[in-house]
Assembly symmetry: C2
DNA sequence: GAAAATTTATGATTTACCTCAAATTTAGGT
DNA sequence: ACCTAAATTTGAGGTAAATCATAAATTTTC
């Protein structure tokens, strides 16, 4: 059990003491989620930090029936870090896109580690800043680019950051894609088809193959 | 000198050792900026963290001739924290809205403090998460609300967070306001005038007086 | 394996907002 | 105080994208 956690968490916890590692093991629970299941709800108590071991999670904000997907989280990342010290309330919801395996660790333990292990604290700050940098990119994409640029951005993100391949099953529905890009589902569908017809990507259902990164980048650049 | 810094930075540095405080004093420089002057440029080296002592700063991203103001920073906050550990590059620009006084501290010193003072590290994380929470609100405002809701949001922000009064000189130009709300300058002007005519706010040049928070909140809510 | 529900798809219509243009006011520099 | 540049304002026209409507295809459920 300890070995498994050490392995999954490796880059995060390699500098922990035996005692600190034990504290985690004792205050953690392993959970499995099916596709579509909700891990946390916006406004709910953020008593735990979730570490994603396998699968794919979307974190999103809800506003007047419409959702905006803030981030797609892949294995090796924490979910809920930004709720630490933040009134103990999640300010977003999280749902499983694929069947996922997570470790749920008590937030107090993470705070304890931050206080007692400077290496860990530094890693947390590093991660938070990486997230912020991503959020800035998202803000620019969502507010300064029109539909084509935004769809180009999400395809580039999926290919490079999430699946790390030019061919992948994106799992996300057209609606998810639209919610990620801040547009209507119909618009997302139309532009995907356009990209397909223009031989920028090859799309069959949820299977996607990037034909021209160059064109996608160009679309991303011009907005 | 030390006294002045201790006073200005008080909530941040109250738990520092004499040695740590001295390290800051020795690796810091005090600077004054006039209205309109640029403190840091997107893409430039983030070798320093800026602590705002007096004045008002806007941090913004540049994209194809258009700016998006990410945040208005008021005294007591750091600028550039999110660039720590991040390739040493600022991912946004910062400019003085009012004449401002800042302390510029070497980033390495801040990293040193994070490593050697867990209380400080915790405060940094707390601040970063507070910022992130604000950015989430911004994302929702910018992407899910239409013009009226966004202008309502910025007025509420200025009144409650920045100037903490129902009557204030907002200093920001109409263009700044538009850049904050992700809309054209003309649209910002039109909606401000509309709010004025509808007796939601009283506007005379850059002087603003909030008449009805209730209506602003309602506009913010419905988007 | 049929029924129900969700997702994907496409066309027509509407609209919120941008862009352009041109006038007026305000601010900044010598 | 004057001159120039920048900021503010208003109107008209254009358009990107949302919404609405409806249908087909796919997935989920029992």
């Amino acid at each position: 059990m300890i070995q498994q956690i050490q392995k999954d968490f490796a880059p995060w916890f390699d500098k922990l003491s035996e005692e600190q590692l034990l504290k985690i093991v004792e205050n953690q629970v392993s959970l499995n989620y099916n596709k579509g299941e909700i891990l946390s709800k916006q406004g709910g108590f953020a008593s735990h930090i979730i570490f994603l071991s396998e699968g794919l999670i979307k974190i999103y904000k809800e506003h007047n029936d419409k959702n905006l997907i803030l981030k797609i989280v892949k294995p090796g990342e924490f979910i809920g870090l930004s709720s630490l010290y933040n009134k103990g309330i999640f300010d977003y919801s999280a749902a499983s896109i694929d069947s996922s395996k997570v470790y749920s660790v008590q937030a107090e333990i993470v705070k304890y580690l931050i206080r007692n292990n400077s290496d860990f604290a530094e890693k947390i700050i590093r991660q938070l800043n990486q997230n912020t940098s991503q959020y800035f990119e998202r803000i620019m994409s969502l507010t300064q680019k029109q539909l084509h640029g935004r769809i180009a951005d999400v395809i580039l993100l999926l290919s490079r950051e999430i699946y790390e391949s030019d061919t992948f099953n994106m799992l996300l529905t057209r609606r998810d894609l639209a919610d990620f890009c801040g547009m209507s589902t119909e618009s997302a569908i139309r532009i995907l088809k356009e990209f397909h017809n223009d031989r920028i990507v090859n799309i069959d259902g949820k299977n996607m193959h990037v034909i021209s990164y160059q064109l996608l980048e160009r679309l991303s650049e011009v907005g």
